[in-house]
Symmetry: C2
Subunit: 116 residues, 2 copies
């Protein structure tokens, strides 16, 4: 058993919007992801969606307003709430979702789970 | 709905080993805590235990070795595994546990859930 160094895990890839699984917790995947640009509007009907910014800034667009997040800030999108993450510059995030949750909310368009 | 600024939440108290609830995620409490010195050996029979260091360093003692964590590092103690967190100097952590989990593994000695 050893510590998970999130920065070291982020150094192993460059792609945007392709989360990497770095660990598990109570049936959830712990993931790091690099993001830049605009994702897609989506929602997760069965789970909350945990975002923590490790580097940079993101905006999580919601239908009733935007939430802006910087380093050391967390936001939990409640289950069923439509959201669209956006990053003007590259940002690095910690994500937590139940194992197997499609990142787009739709298995047809979701990224596969990649482990680093 | 707004971002949770973990550093701002940590600025609201000084006590050690008294987690503060800052949010919820899928039936779990998101908590920040300041730690210094040695906690107690304990285990949680029904849940993994998520630690992320935000500031400083901690050692999580396990029966078969120590895990050392610095800023941006995560460790998940599997459910049922005895552990004892230790910090030589003050450290700040993000913790995630199912709502109501006693921090010592024992309701008789656990800190109450405090919300900030």
């Amino acid at each position: 058993m050893q510590a998970i160094d999130l920065a070291q895990k982020l150094d192993t890839f460059t792609e945007h919007w392709q989360p990497r699984v770095v660990g598990q917790f109570n049936g959830h995947d712990l993931m790091v992801v690099k993001v830049k640009g605009e994702f897609v509007w989506h929602q997760h009907p069965d789970t909350d969606d945990f975002f923590m910014v490790l580097h940079g800034h993101i905006t999580i667009r919601l239908r009733d307003g935007d939430v802006r997040l910087g380093p050391g800030e967390v936001f939990v999108v409640p289950k069923g709430v439509e959201h669209c993450p956006v990053a003007e510059e590259e940002a690095h995030l910690l994500l937590i979702e139940p194992m197997g949750t499609p990142n787009t909310g739709d298995r047809a368009t979701a990224q596969p789970r990649r482990v680093v």
